[in-house]
Symmetry: C2
Subunit: 334 residues, 2 copies
DNA sequence: CTGAAAGCGCTTACAG
DNA sequence: CTGAAAGCGCTTACAG
């Protein structure tokens, strides 16, 4: 069965296609009776406007592009959840772009631009400053709005929604120190994610202020790899606290140290980031810094709709850099 | 800066736009020198064809729609991972549609059809048979190819990629029984997911064949809810084995029972499904049935590309229902 | 309030 | 091998 087009409904309702288009887009501009007649035909025929044709004619696709690196990270799913819910509310469609493994970033971002999205939520936090600059240039050249969701950048050159990871790490490290902890490790990943940069920075600052030596241990996020790695490195080593960039790394570390005879939290405090299910399923339960990742997604999408709305073009600069609150969820590992 | 169009490159390369279009789509049909000249201009101008215009003109968008219910489920991320990787390989774009909370399924599927996707990967496993029938009808009417990824349907009326969950559950339950277990529970969710239907069926069959009473306990996937729920129900109750529809539920149950004084695996065997990180991070490590969810995504996408390819339209019926192998990963909980 | 017409940026027979 | 022209299904000034 051929798809029903705007011509079909125009013909059947005995109006021009311009009128059909109007009842779809500016219903108040058309006479009530005509409108109802057209609406009836639309329903009868099960007409749904072809989004592609509409996009071409109006130069607006009501589609946003989501750029990510790795879908399987716990934070990615949460971010997507927030984005999807809000996009749905505002009737935006979502196109997914993965930059995983891409070497030519310029080409990658050009590809997403070629898809004619109205806006972009950028949540790939694996690019360096130079690559981010290229992305920014191409996007601005194409006059597409973009917001960074959970991506850390040194300067505020792009609208963004974030958590103050540096402050969170700084504060929790200070607290650890105030409890008398001295051998405090930062457990990070070998792979560079920009969201982890401020976590490490905050930790380092607190350590240095207290005259303690910052010790960053980098490993894999893969449990099968980090387990032996932890065991080998921390075997017999002095360590009385650890802050991990992710819950799952914290739990893995805690398990290994427990196997090695350490008592958590008496001998050793362990803290994670995000507050995922891992924290709840570990024994003892993991104390962690809750970061509202779902909300980062939702707020990013809301910010983006505002930026894309020509009416509210004067969005003040200050509201383009949103910092969401975090909190410490105190459980049993500290 | 205005976007560069096919006219710009045609003008600069001193050819017609038809020729430019050809070097893009059928490069071998154009003279080598002309082609190289055009290609040079394309590069110089940084031209990328407008995907929307192309979609309208060719009636092919090289876009697939992914229909899901809940992004935050562990399986969803894995499925998406597989889909994304293969889609990228075949140069397909991805549009994401969430049916979470939708009441009018017909309207929902019509919306995805209106977006002019060339094919659909359907991974929403929360619909009932009647709703699935509606989806099937609308999609076929629009002549769009669709494959079910990790969605269970009684009949083979739609191409699908699955794991034989019934067989897996049946076999592991038989094994439990052969080890002398009698009070074997199936831990399922209150919410109905079609992938869980065969798991429960396989479990029941094994129990009944052995003359044992099948006992299905339904709870929430939320740890904060299922923890007290497990505690209350299983307190003092006889149970020597449990099979859970998800790893995280298995781990939560194992934790509660351990707190209640049970020894795993001596007093109690616990088994999960999927083999997520939860299984590796639990103590004792969880024995589970590994289901290749990433592969289901990847294979679904590959199947879909075949179905969408008009050249290989004669895909035999048999190859449209793919069952991927599972395996039992034996760790410490059984 | 409504219609005729141009145009969005491409692809694709059809000629040559 | 290449070009002129029609057409994809809409939106949007412009008239009336």
């Amino acid at each position: 069965m051929a798809r029903v087009t705007i011509y079909d409904v125009a013909g059947k309702a005995k109006v021009s296609l311009a009128t059909v288009s109007r009842v779809l887009n500016n219903p108040n501009k058309v006479n009530k009776e005509t409108r109802q007649r057209v609406e009836a035909v639309i329903k009868e025929l099960g007409y749904h406007p072809n989004a592609i044709a509409r996009g071409l004619a109006s130069k607006k696709t009501t589609t946003v592009g989501i750029v990510l690196s790795d879908v399987t990270r716990a934070a990615t799913a949460q971010l997507l959840g927030g984005i999807i819910d809000i996009a749905k509310k505002y009737n935006y469609s979502i196109k997914l772009f993965s930059m995983a493994g891409d070497t030519d970033i310029e080409e990658s971002i050009r590809n997403v631009i070629a898809e004619q999205v109205d806006g972009i939520i950028f949540m790939n936090d694996e690019l360096d400053d130079n690559e981010m600059r290229i992305v920014k240039e191409r996007v601005e050249e194409a006059e597409i709005k973009m917001v960074l969701a959970n991506v850390y950048l040194d300067s505020d050159i792009l609208p963004s929604v974030m958590v103050d990871y540096a402050k969170a790490a700084y504060e929790i490290t200070k607290e650890l120190i105030s409890k008398g902890k001295k051998d405090i490790y930062m457990l990070a990943t070998v792979r560079k994610y920009s969201v982890n940069t401020p976590k490490i920075a905050g930790y380092k600052q607190a350590m240095e202020e207290a005259g303690l030596e910052p010790k960053v241990f980098r490993t894999s996020g893969d449990v099968n790899i980090n387990t032996p790695h932890f065991r080998e490195f921390f075997q017999g080593k002095g360590v009385d606290a650890a802050l991990a960039v992710r819950d799952s790394i914290a739990v893995s570390f805690m398990n290994v140290m427990t196997d090695l005879g350490k008592k958590v939290p008496d001998d050793l405090s362990v803290i994670g980031f995000q507050n995922t299910k891992y924290a709840l399923l570990s024994r003892p339960n993991l104390t962690c810094i809750y970061t509202p990742v779902y909300d980062i997604g939702a707020v990013s999408m809301r910010l983006l709709t505002k930026l894309m709305d020509p009416a509210s073009d004067e969005t003040e600069e200050s509201s383009k850099h949103i910092l969401l609150p975090y909190s410490v969820i105190r459980r049993q590992s500290m």
